[in-house]
């Protein structure tokens, strides 16, 4: 665990850079974390991040498919918005823990 100052606020992050306290999240923090990943957030990005936060905070397990069928983006767009590992990256920017698959 470590502390990090992002967008003028102190946040708690784990060794992989995921925020450990989702309530510390703000849109500005997301924008700054995105910059570190080389991404400039658009409204579409934010819509996805907010969907992810809402579901994760309600205790739901997220999958790429769940986001791809959310009506906000399809799976192809999700990959384009968050290249590489979209679910991991989007979770990081949404200030929620790294998604784990339950096996």
């Amino acid at each position: 665990m470590a502390e990090k100052i992002v967008a003028g606020r102190t946040i708690q992050v784990n060794e992989e850079g995921y925020m450990t306290n989702p309530s510390e999240w703000t849109r500005e923090i997301a924008a700054e974390l995105a910059k570190e990943e080389g991404i400039t957030l658009t409204d579409k990005h934010y819509a996805v991040l907010e969907f992810i936060r809402e579901k994760a905070l309600a205790g739901e397990t997220l999958t790429i498919r769940k986001i791809g069928t959310s009506g906000i983006v399809d799976m192809k767009e999700f990959y384009q918005l968050f290249p590489g590992g979209p679910l991991k990256l989007a979770s990081k920017l949404a200030g929620i823990p790294k998604p784990t698959s339950c096996v």
Binding site: E60, T61, T63, I64, R65, K66, T69, M75, K76, F78, Y79, P83, G84, G85, T100, S101, C102, V103
Partner: protein
């Protein structure tokens, strides 16, 4: 007369019908099971069919024979559930009322959800082994496969028996060695996960097992479509994996009636309380086995452990008491790795697979996270245990709750 209705006569449904009919007073309780299938499959046995180790007769029994006589079996498909009315409507239009409902309709394959999967190469160079017919067709194809790229790929999580594809590639390695053509075959394991497995300590062990067998892992690969013409998998981030022979685990989904009844998630699995398996809005409805959306494996062992807990709880609930026990997510899987050996993992919601011994601390005879011959015998014996104990709802000398006894805590 009160009614307990069980939807599905697979592993979970048959086990509950057997357990409940043994203790409930037949003058007070009527147990009804609905399932259109007349055959019950021992699905873990499908793994051995492509390699000619098991045949059809090893993995089938008539559904009826596994259920007690006092239970009525209705051979029809559930069309819709009306949870607010305690009513189930069947495909033939008949409607059934219940006091308590157990949904055990499992997971089905949905190959239609992946573009190109059911294309011209389906059942020619693209196969699955999660159904008996699929496994038999693959056995025929493997006999005529004399070299090239064999790709095992997984469409998405969750899927039943998450170790089965790993076992498949290990057994394939063995199989080609025995045929003397291993040097002519390249084996690839293509997964949407970041590694062979999700839980870190087990992943390390399984990565090593695959490395030793010269099986290449391609991770974070999420299939967008299958190009039949050029014989390759294409991912959403536009990577490509060519194949000569593709074995795939298609998308797994819950039964269609779940979607029609609006009680499931986007894959038609049903969210329930992970400790009691009750639907939050409908405490007289329980979901057992693969049909449930709970954070543990979709496996027969989970259906078994969860079923023990559910059985105790139902007996409490019908007497107007609160559920007595909590399911901890206990899962237990033998992993065949070829060469006559197997590994074993044992875990739950909170504890990842750890090394040690099972089921008796310090003694075993089975070794957790280790690769041994005796684990392999455990896997083979499981078929017998399945038919005569598990499905029949007879007690087994293992605890439903996961135990830390016999486990070594490592990181």
């Amino acid at each position: 007369m009160k009614n307990i209705l069980i939807l599905g006569a697979g592993t979970a449904g048959s086990m509950m019908a057997n357990k409940l009919s043994r203790v409930l007073d037949k003058k007070e309780w009527k147990i009804t099971v609905v399932d259109p299938a007349s055959t019950h499959y021992y699905q873990p046995g499908f793994l051995f069919i492509p390699f000619g180790k098991y045949s059809r007769k090893d993995v089938v029994k008539p559904t009826e024979k596994l259920l007690p006589r006092s239970v009525e079996l209705i051979k029809s498909e559930v069309e819709t559930l009306f949870p607010g009315e305690n009513k189930v409507v069947l495909k033939d239009g008949k409607s059934l009322a219940y006091d308590y409902l157990i949904i055990a309709t499992g997971a089905r394959l949905a190959p239609e959800e992946t573009t190109g999967l059911l294309g011209p190469l389906w059942q020619k160079d693209i196969f699955e082994f999660y159904t008996l017919e699929g496994a038999l067709a693959l056995a025929d194809r493997l006999k005529n496969f004399n070299g090239g790229k064999l790709v095992m790929s997984i469409v998405d999580m969750p899927f039943k028996c998450p170790v089965a594809p790993i076992e498949f590639v290990c057994l394939a390695d063995d199989y080609f060695k025995k045929r003397g053509i291993r040097d002519k075959v390249e084996i690839y394991y293509v997964t949407p996960l970041s590694g062979a497995f999700t839980k870190p300590i087990a992943a390390r062990m399984l990565n090593q097992v695959m490395q030793e067998r010269n099986i290449h892992i391609i991770s974070d690969f999420y299939i967008e479509h299958i190009d039949n013409e050029n014989k390759k998998l294409v991912s959403y981030d536009e990577r490509e994996v060519p194949f000569d022979l593709l074995t795939i685990v298609p998308l797994n989904k819950g039964a269609d009636f779940v979607g029609r009844s609006k009680i499931g998630d986007e894959l038609n699995f049903i969210p329930v309380d992970k400790h009691t398996l009750q639907m939050p809005q409908y405490p007289n409805i329980f979901v057992l086995g693969d049909a449930a959306a709970i954070p543990t494996s979709k496996a027969g062992s989970v259906a078994h452990f969860a079923g023990e807990i559910l059985f105790e709880n139902i007996l409490h609930i019908i007497e107007g008491k609160a559920p007595a026990e909590k399911f901890d997510g206990h899962s237990n899987c033998y992993i065949e790795v070829g060469q006559g050996k197997a590994s074993l993992i044992d875990f739950n919601y909170d504890t990842e697979p750890l090394p040690g011994t099972y089921p008796v601390a310090g003694i075993g005879p089975f070794k957790l996270l280790d690769v041994t011959r005796i684990n392999h015998w455990g896997k083979l014996a499981f078929r017998w245990i399945y038919w005569y104990f598990l499905v029949k709802g007879r007690a087994l000398p293992v605890s439903a709750h996961m135990s830390m006894k016999g486990k070594k805590v490592v990181s």
